[in-house]
Amino acid sequence: MAQEYVYKRDNSRLFVAMRDNGRRFKVIMNEDKIPVINEKEEDIRLVRTEESHMCFEYRERRFHCVVTKRNKNSYTMLINGVEYTFSVESVSSYLRKKILAKDAGEEQDLSIKAPMPGKITAVYVDPGDEVNVGDPLFALEAMKMQNEILSPIKGKVLELTIKEGDVVVKNDELVKIGVVD
């Protein structure tokens, strides 16, 4: 019950780490004590830390955790070779965000970016075309492999910034798709 006391009294030590898929972790950082995660004491102990690399011990196993991306309050952590991205909020910023989210618009236009560097070997759509989820947009050749890039949403092709034969680098904007109502 002592933890609950901390939780109620000291909101400055309570943080929420949230993933894009909506999974939330409420974490209470206790000075000199183990953290409380989602109302449960978890025996996670920091073994050592250097720059962006942290090593934790949990249930007699070591976990190496590396920060691979960091942008404002968003942290991408690499652990056992797999990345997890969280946006971390303090209690007040979390509540504020919740209020703002209610006012925000629903869906937005989407830019398709090059997932990897390569060469555009075919373009299957023209501006104005309507596309469905899973329709091929263009083919990207990278590391000797042809990759078909599929539309992640249903919509209309607004803008096409590439043509066959173009060489693109990672994250180049290639196609913009507008949401149709």
Binding site: H64, V66, A122
Partner: protein, 498 residues
Amino acid sequence: MAKRLLVANRGEIAIRIMKSAKELGLTCVVIKSPKEADALYLKHADEVVSFDDASNATSVFLDIDALMGICRENNIDVLHPGYGFLSENPDLANACKENNVVFAGPKSELIRDMGNKTIAKEKAVEAGLPLLAGSAGVVHSYEEAEDIADKIGYPVILKAAAGGGGRGMRIVESRDQIEKNYKSAHAESLAAFNNGDLFVEKYIPSPKHIEFQILADMHGNVIHLGERECSLQRKHQKLIEEAPSPFLSPQKREEMGQKSVEFAKKIGYDSVGTIEFIMDANANYYFMEMNTRIQVEHPVTEMITGVDLIAWQLRVAMGEKLTLTQDDIKFQGWAIECRINAEDAQNRFSPETGIISQIIFPEGEDIRIETGVENNSVVTPYFDSMLAKIIVRGWDRQNAIGRMDRALLNFRIDGLKTTVPFSKLVINHRDFTLGTYTTKWVEDYYTDIMLENPVDEMIAAHAAVYLYHNEFSKVASDTPDFEEDSMSVWVMKRRLNS
């Protein structure tokens, strides 16, 4: 005087070749390209020849004239091509012959014939190997492909006659898809192999990939070393291989092995080679192709037979007689290989490049590591993404899976994402442990969410909060800055967070 071997390759296979070659007393010469001047394989060689291909369109490993020049200047007696690059190029084998260099591979004509799928299939039919229904030869238009598909029924597969590694290959589910697919496969094949010829055949939706290892000499002796199953693939690239296959009965193994040997004898095969089959759910098997080089996955066969395939490849190339008979080949235990690629399995296996700040390999009984990288190695976009192979052997399949699981757990790499989490996922998945997985497993069942683990996720969430909290406390305690710059604590916080 000791014979001199040129290893016309790089990475782990160059090191692997040198290991066997040194035991045979060969002097090993490798080629140093400025594209990876600090590569690990260079340190394993007896001699290093520098060749500046930085400004050339083709890599030195793809340049026959350059390789022959290096052979002449360095008094090379034997050339080993490894896999990939020019390993299945008949012109290299020919050039070697003209320059009095022993080529560690079969005769040039065999490479040419087996590299041409139409000829290879004709030879397979002659030797009594079963084939899938399809076009007798290449097709020259989508209409022609359409006619054949109508006859044999959909789905069909279009394949580059000169192809390999999945390039120029398309699966066509229905008639309305054939034109588009024919055109893109034709273009891809033309770009990759300078040959746009395609053929059409019946497509088996969820097959197993089973291949037989052949070992032959130039005196007519041929044996097989059993099969490997390489069904765990993504876009026709193998990721996990095992020997033996959990899907073959002893009778089937005997039958396929014998037929493979007969085929190799019939074509006069004289080196190590691999005969690839696909197998449907009823264990019907069909000849696909023969690879005339050493394969990436050869270690699983070596692990269960104790035969050094590369040593034999070099010995038979130099004219030695095979002293092993079929009865000498005994299979002991079960071997699994996981390829460790610098690829992001969470992002459609896109290639990762960068510096390996630290790499720690698992060690232990019956664990074998083949790698071309070490601490501080640079992973460049110039070459393929395979960093290493982890191979384990167990006394049975379950034991091998357990050993692989522990080996993967004890593997650590910093600086790049790799396919290790993917391998861990697969070997623990029911479809793998039951041995029912097919070449379509990745496409049909894999999603990157499967890589996630609730404990790791919680620790990562805690780590993110830990960092945020540290920054938060820092803002609150850094009062000197606040006073000197008379900066608002809110502005500071924003700066820290941006």
